[in-house]
Symmetry: C2
Subunit: 264 residues, 2 copies
């Protein structure tokens, strides 16, 4: 069995390649130049490097390889999608066909384009289930104050995520301090700290009816460092629908910073 | 007939006092020190100045005056609500009784507190209907590009407003660039310009089932200056549910900057 991977940045693509290889798959990596970490190229059986937004070129590589299945993983900064430079003809046509340019529309559209070649894009979580936390407190102590903000913030984050705006909402004492747009989670947290000072709670949620093939929430050591160094009190993520990269290190850092982590 | 006004900042309170006086009302202004513009004190028949967050003191003044009706108008920066300094006992009790601290909850709570004194808080729009735009293009030309972003952005702004997060969403080419949290409209627009460059569209919406007594969207000359100076393309507001302060000057400025203004 041959599985293809269209990879953005971050460590999820590497985790996927290792897991798929271990399960006996032949792996083909479609890497995006300047975005995919070249350090993972060695973990795939074959690599195609594509310039960003060269959709026609990408599809022709997929057609040539004809993997049995495809997966899409990793981050493409939402803000990069705004520049839209160096589009090939296929990409232009593709973008015009979208109703809007939010993550779900764009990745959903790519899934359809791959589907037109007769190749199915599959849910990658069977290869990554070890990264998905179960419900519960991962580290720290749930006080009544945190609990209230977690409950409130998570509900709002869920709505924001479902609108396909961003996944992160920062709250403090029942006030929505900051909502993530295209600036990304880190800058959203920085803004919140600047506006509200210490003691904020960061909530990250998946969409209602999250398609696990599309843009699944992901956290890692840097998320905790950002929250901890700015005086945040807690991080709330969604159980079974958030990838935690380097979980042990995440928990160690969270403990050091005194940041509570909870999966709801 | 005596009407009371609890006034935040901005020019809406002045417009209200002038209009109520013209309609023959005796006006009592409850001004918030450091927030309400003292320049409007002269337009009221009587003035009480209250320190911010001295809710007990405010209610005792209202009780003493016993106006036939009350209105609440003007801005209290959402971020100020986070500081919660100098609360009196009543305010502490009040804040603890709220399920969260969003604008709707806070102002709704104050309306209930005033209601307990047997005084009704009324919709101020009968005094301000000259500030509410009808549906249509106020200035500029609606291109197909702007139309698409207006349609998309307004729909999202409506959801955000209904969640009582903020009223403003900035979009560009089908991407939600920035969502207003507690930082206010201006800083949301600045962030959007920084992230997405020129050509963005600012959409401001009222909540679904907007209670016209609570935090009605308001724009003025500064809104247009902000958008225009940063290269924004259009401002979309909600017809009949957005106050335009200094409408003539707003339209003149928008024309100069080449910013289109549309009420949908």
């Amino acid at each position: 069995m041959k599985i293809g991977l269209l990879a953005g940045s971050g460590k999820l693509p590497l985790e996927f390649l290792k897991s798929a290889s271990k399960q006996g798959y032949e792996t083909v990596l479609f890497a995006i130049k300047g975005i995919t970490d070249p350090g993972i190229y060695g973990s795939a059986d074959r690599v195609y490097e594509i310039e960003p937004f060269k959709l026609g070129r990408f599809l022709s590589f997929v057609k040539k390889e004809r993997p049995d299945k495809m997966a899409i993983l990793g981050k493409v900064e939402h803000s990069e999608a705004l520049s839209f430079k160096n589009l090939d003809f296929k990409a232009v046509t593709f973008l015009f066909s979208l109703k809007d340019k939010r993550a779900e529309a764009i990745i959903g559209g790519i899934i359809r384009e791959i589907g037109k070649l007769g190749i199915e894009v599959v849910d990658p979580t069977p290869f990554l289930s070890h990264l998905l936390p179960a419900q519960g407190v991962l580290i720290g102590k749930l006080t009544r104050d945190i609990e209230k903000d977690v409950e409130f913030g998570f509900r709002i984050a869920k709505e924001i995520a479902t609108l396909d705006i961003g996944q992160t909402v920062v709250v403090k004492k029942g006030v929505v301090v900051a909502v993530e747009g295209i600036e990304g989670t880190d800058r959203c947290i920085e803004r919140a700290a600047e506006l509200a000072g210490k003691g904020f709670v960061v909530c990250k949620a998946a969409r209602k009816n999250q398609d696990m093939r599309i843009d699944v929430p992901t956290i890692g050591v840097n998320t905790i460092e950002k929250i901890g160094s700015l005086g945040g009190k807690a991080l709330c993520i969604e159980a079974d629908k958030t990838f935690i990269i380097d979980k042990d290190e995440v928990i160690r850092k969270a403990k050091n910073f005194g940041v509570m982590v909870i999966a709801v």
